[in-house]
Symmetry: C2
Subunit: 245 residues, 2 copies
């Protein structure tokens, strides 16, 4: 049996005509999912067939079907579940830095994921894909819930009221929309700029929510108290909200 550290062949690799490599069951399953994710990253799911996955994995079509008897839909859902778990694992917040620096670090990891999965990420969040089902929507909702939970924990909130929940959910929706736009525009906007924009959005959206919600007001006050006193972005945000006669 071959060494388990054999690299996963890239989608460009020529299929092996004879003597498919024999891999242990779990490893083969993971390899097929990894190959599928690479293909979904460059082409819409409609255009990726089981034959492509088999070819890119150096495996036969029947072998792919042995692992995913439900065909492409099952493979797609397994790949999505793998990607979703990986994304959720990136939501851990670094231990150092001010609250906004920590948010920025998590956003950097998020954008690295978006860049890696590209077309697959777009197809999934845009809707109307032929492989989209109530099940795939549920997987995406799981990720959103994990992001919500992590963000609230980061903000030191145990029980979030409806307005604070709406704020964080809305911010997550803004992140999703911004990353889709970023991909659409060929990643021309520097990702650091987009990340800073999203952090500023969080602060601003929290302030607008705090207008009518004491819990959000307390969270925002706690966050601002931990920022560097010379934070020029928050100061400029205030200035921009000052009407000029």
């Amino acid at each position: 049996m071959e060494a388990s550290s054999a690299p996963v062949p890239s989608p460009q690799a020529r299929p092996r005509r004879a003597g498919y490599r024999r891999l242990p069951v779990e490893q083969r399953r993971e390899q097929l999912i990894a190959v599928a994710l690479e293909l979904f990253a460059t082409r819409p799911p409609e255009e990726v067939g089981l034959d492509d996955v088999a070819a890119a994995a150096g495996a036969s079509r029947p072998l792919v079907y042995r692992y995913f008897a439900g065909g492409k839909q099952q493979l797609y859902e397994a790949a999505l579940r793998t990607a979703a778990d990986e994304l959720s694992s990136r939501f851990t917040v670094p231990l150092t830095g001010t609250p906004t620096e920590q948010l920025a670090a998590v956003l950097d990891r998020y954008f690295a994921f978006v860049a890696e999965h590209d077309a697959g990420y777009s197809a999934l969040l845009r809707g109307g894909s032929v492989v989209e089902t109530a099940r795939t929507s549920a997987i995406v909702d799981d990720v959103r819930r994990a992001a919500l939970k992590r963000t609230l924990r980061h903000l030191g909130v145990r029980e979030a009221g409806p307005r604070l929940t709406l704020l964080v959910r809305s911010w997550i929706a803004v992140i999703e929309g911004a990353s889709l736009t970023w991909l659409d525009e060929g990643r021309t906007v520097p990702v650091e700029e987009l990340r800073d924009w999203l952090v500023d959005q969080f602060v601003a959206m929290a302030a607008a929510t705090a207008l009518g919600d004491p819990q959000t007001a307390a969270v925002l006050a706690g966050l601002l108290a931990l920022e560097r006193p010379d934070d020029s972005r928050v100061r400029r945000l205030r200035e921009l909200l000052t009407p000029r006669p």
Copy 2:
């Protein structure tokens, strides 16, 4: 032939067993769509069959098929197109009031639409519905584009740069998410509160975007200059962004 002012029967109306009412072609088509929209408002599209539409319309199944040979999917898309056109027509901005009062008025009309279409609106925006296709997604995108265009025009912008466009698109995404949450929670939050929250979000999000974009800064300054000088919400927004030692 009956009077053209005959009311569209409600979905609760008993089907007429004999002597289907004869309606002119275009009127019958509109009636079937109106009946379908009423049914989609209370049940997910999965659970609405052509039989239900026929019964509620006081028509036979073959008659419904005569108008919508593509079956339920075609009827769904026609209904969606009608609803989308109606929603887009509500984006007109009243001539009086400050810019934020005008935004509030448009949002009121938007929420009236959401309340009216309820389940149909949710199913559509949530994704993963069996009747969702690339075509239905395109119809929804058309509405979003119309909303973007209207909002930019309201702000007096002819050519929006990428950051201002991202701001308005993000705000529209926040509106969609907030209306879904509102429906989910049984409309317990007063709609006026949600509408004011969304207007405040716009001002705050614009300020955060203005930090790095002169065009948005100019738009925001223009908007604030037209607001009432005693606008306590903007003043309080500034105060909330002031860190307390």
